[in-house]
């Protein structure tokens, strides 16, 4: 079952090179990566970079942008720029954590379903079908309302309802891997399921899983802002979704306080666009099935925010 080591390395290297070449042809990837890197940096240095404290008023209620407060003040007289900087932390962390949950569940379901097939596959895919059809944001709202607003609840609710498309993509990939000669040879030579999964299947689906993680993160952040907006986020935390919630509840519109609305939305949109650019580019580069000639012409394969778009492959 030992592959000749040099050949394996050569193959791995050529795979990497192919991926690198595809990335080079995609400037969008660089743009997306820069956006994401910028926001991660902001989130990391936020407490030190924020010009004012976010706990108490530092100016008039809904004060307009000025030289002292670049992005104005919110309904409590708190500096908007500071809120945005500090809020990036919760938004990114919740998005990432929910994504990890979703990828964990979706990856496990996809691998088990694709690898074992048969009754396991049928059962798991029935469950997946069910979760695909159900309006997940509504279920998220109901569960979050029952559990009460808190950060871990938001993470779990989003993560546990966002895994379906990952499961589908990974399943179809594993299904084809299972039939490859080297996997079957390993089985015949006596390797157990665990060993085959860890040594042969996971390394192959790993990259696709990473691309999927980044795409899922966009949806997780989108859902998180929706839950926050409906008052289901942690009321004491500062996040972009909660900034928008406060703007709506405390009538920023009546004050004409555009600065309490526009910047938070722009931040959310930038992060989501960044995730999409990177995720799509990675997926196109790493998923060999997309490299078939006429499929490669499509620059944008869309995954509906609440749907199962990628399944169309």
């Amino acid at each position: 079952m030992e592959e000749p080591a040099p050949r394996l390395h050569a193959r791995a290297r050529s795979r990497l090179e192919a991926a690198a070449r595809t990335l080079q042809r995609r400037p969008a990837m660089t743009v997306g990566a820069l956006i994401l890197a910028a926001f991660v940096t902001i989130a990391a240095i936020a407490p030190w970079a924020a010009p004012y404290a976010t706990g108490h008023a530092t100016g008039p209620v809904y004060g307009p942008p000025s030289s002292r407060h670049w992005l104005g003040l919110d309904d409590g007289g708190i500096d908007m720029l500071s809120l945005l900087l500090v809020g990036s932390r919760i938004s990114l962390i919740v998005g990432a954590a929910a994504t990890l949950v979703a990828i964990g569940v979706g990856g496990t379901v996809g691998v088990l379903s694709g690898y074992f097939g048969g009754a396991v596959d049928t059962l798991l895919m029935r469950v997946t079908d069910y979760f695909l059809v159900i309006p997940d944001v509504v279920l998220m709202i109901v569960v979050a309302a029952l559990w009460g607003p808190s950060l871990p609840h938001v993470v779990l609710v989003i993560g546990l309802l966002l895994w379906t498309s990952t499961a589908r993509i990974i399943r179809s990939q594993v299904k084809s891997l299972r039939e490859r000669v080297y996997v079957r040879r390993a089985r015949v030579m006596g390797a157990g399921h665990l060993r085959v999964l860890v040594k042969h299947i996971l390394p192959q689906v790993g990259p696709l899983l990473i691309a999927n993680t980044i795409l899922t993160m966009a949806i997780a952040i989108f859902d998180e802002t929706a839950l926050d907006f409906l008052g289901l986020g942690d009321p004491n935390a500062v996040s972009w979704g909660i900034i928008l919630e406060h703007a709506n509840l405390r009538t920023a519109v009546t004050y004409g306080a555009w600065w309490a609305v526009i910047p938070a939305g722009v931040c959310i949109a930038l992060v989501i666009v960044g995730c999409y650019l990177v995720g799509q580019a990675l997926e196109d580069a790493l998923n060999p099935r997309l490299r078939v000639s006429h499929l490669a012409t499509r620059q944008w394969r869309l995954r509906a925010l609440a749907g199962r778009g990628s399944e169309a492959e």
């Binding site: 079908d129 069910y130 695909l132 059809v133 159900i134 309006p135 997940d136 944001v137 509504v138 279920l139 709202i141 109901v142 569960v143 309302a145 029952l146 966009a218 989108f222 802002t225 929706a226 907006f229 409906l230 008052g231 289901l232 979704g241 928008l244 703007a247 709506n248 920023a252 519109v253 009546t254 004409g256 555009w258 609305v261 526009i262 938070a264 939305g265 959310i268 949109a269 930038l270 989501i272 666009v273 999409y276 000639s293 006429h294 499929l295 012409t297 499509r298 620059q299 944008w300 394969r301 869309l302 509906a304 925010l305 609440a306 749907g307 199962r308 778009g309 169309a312």
Partner: protein, 321 residues
């Protein structure tokens, strides 16, 4: 598989999904520790006697499975319980809310589809041109902005010019003519509809564009071109016709997204529909309403999904394979 088998299978799945949703509903609200109805029996400062009365009143002393069948039986009779907020039957509340939501969502979905198909078509036919780049990038950006943000931004732009909340003007004439009330309704509905169209537009354009690009790369399009057909003819009778299949699926699959968008839009514009009802139920912890709304929304999404599946089957019987 024969056609009839396919229809039976799809409808069977739809029924199973609705039943599963009802079961989830029951378990979420009654079985989980600390769940809503159990809490009912913990009225603060209640005497042991009152607590016992409440437990009996709500049937909480019976075994869970018996509660479950009572619940299913009531459901089958269309009884969703009584709203905590206004003591009206949940079904009566939901009927009015749905009647307010459906026109807005229907108009917005149709509009966003028409605009999305036209823009996606232009984009795909002129692939790589500046038109395509602008159109695709606008779509991506619109797709990335949260629905509630688009709604709030429109409100800021149009505050003063258009009404910002509600469905009709409470201060209008005593006896408005039909025409006047229609104009009033439209003036209130225009921003919610516009928000929904903008939210759905991005996704639709990208879906239509990529579906068309796929079909334009097919061999039969090449053949059609070789036969000397005009580009218009190729797009209309070869590409678009085949692209309608993935478009049908993907658009109906985004139904959950439409529902989520409608909830956020209604909350921002205080539109008295099912989204606002859901929001109020969350704020007031009105569990019967919450349960009812979840069930109704699930049933409608499952219903339209099934309809779409059957339409798809009609368009392309190969799916039944």
């Amino acid at each position: 598989m024969r056609g009839a088998d396919y229809v039976v299978k799809r409808v069977g799945f739809a029924v199973a999904t609705v039943l599963a949703a009802a079961t989830i509903n029951f378990f979420l609200f009654r079985v989980l520790p600390g769940s809503a109805v159990t809490n009912l029996a913990h009225v603060p400062g209640a005497t042991a006697q009152l607590r016992h009365l409440l437990v009996v009143e709500f049937g909480l002393d019976r075994p869970k499975w018996e509660q479950f069948f009572i619940y299913l039986g009531q459901l089958a009779h269309g009884n969703l319980g009584v709203s905590f907020i206004n003591q009206q039957p949940v079904t009566a509340n939901l009927g009015g809310d749905l009647a307010n939501t459906i026109p807005v969502v229907a108009i917005a979905t149709v509009l966003s589809l028409v605009v999305g198909i036209v823009a996606g078509l232009l984009s795909a036919c002129r692939r790589g041109s500046w038109l395509d780049h602008i159109s695709t990038n606008v779509a991506i950006v619109l797709y990335a902005f949260p629905t509630q943000w688009i709604a709030l931004t429109l409100l800021i732009f149009f505050a003063g010019a258009l009404p910002t909340a509600g469905m009709s003007n409470p201060f209008q004439l005593q006896q408005p003519s039909l025409w006047q009330s229609m104009v009033d309704y439209l003036r209130h509905a225009i921003l919610p509809i516009l928000t929904l169209v903008l939210t759905l537009y991005g996704g639709n354009v990208l879906i239509v564009r990529s579906a068309l690009l796929d079909t334009l790369g097919e061999d039969y399009v090449l053949t059609a071109r070789a036969k000397g057909l005009s580009p218009l003819r190729i797009v209309r009778s070869h590409a678009l016709r085949n692209a309608m299949l993935p478009i049908t699926t993907l658009v109906t699959l985004s139904l959950g997204y439409v529902v989520a968008g409608a909830i956020l839009v209604e909350v921002v514009f205080s539109w008295p529909g099912i989204g606002t009802a859901l929001y109020n139920a969350v704020l007031e912890r009105d569990y019967p309403m919450l349960q009812g709304i979840f069930l109704v929304l699930t049933i409608s999404v499952v219903f339209f999904n099934t309809v779409a599946d059957l339409v798809y089957f009609k368009l392309d019987p190969r799916v039944a394979r």
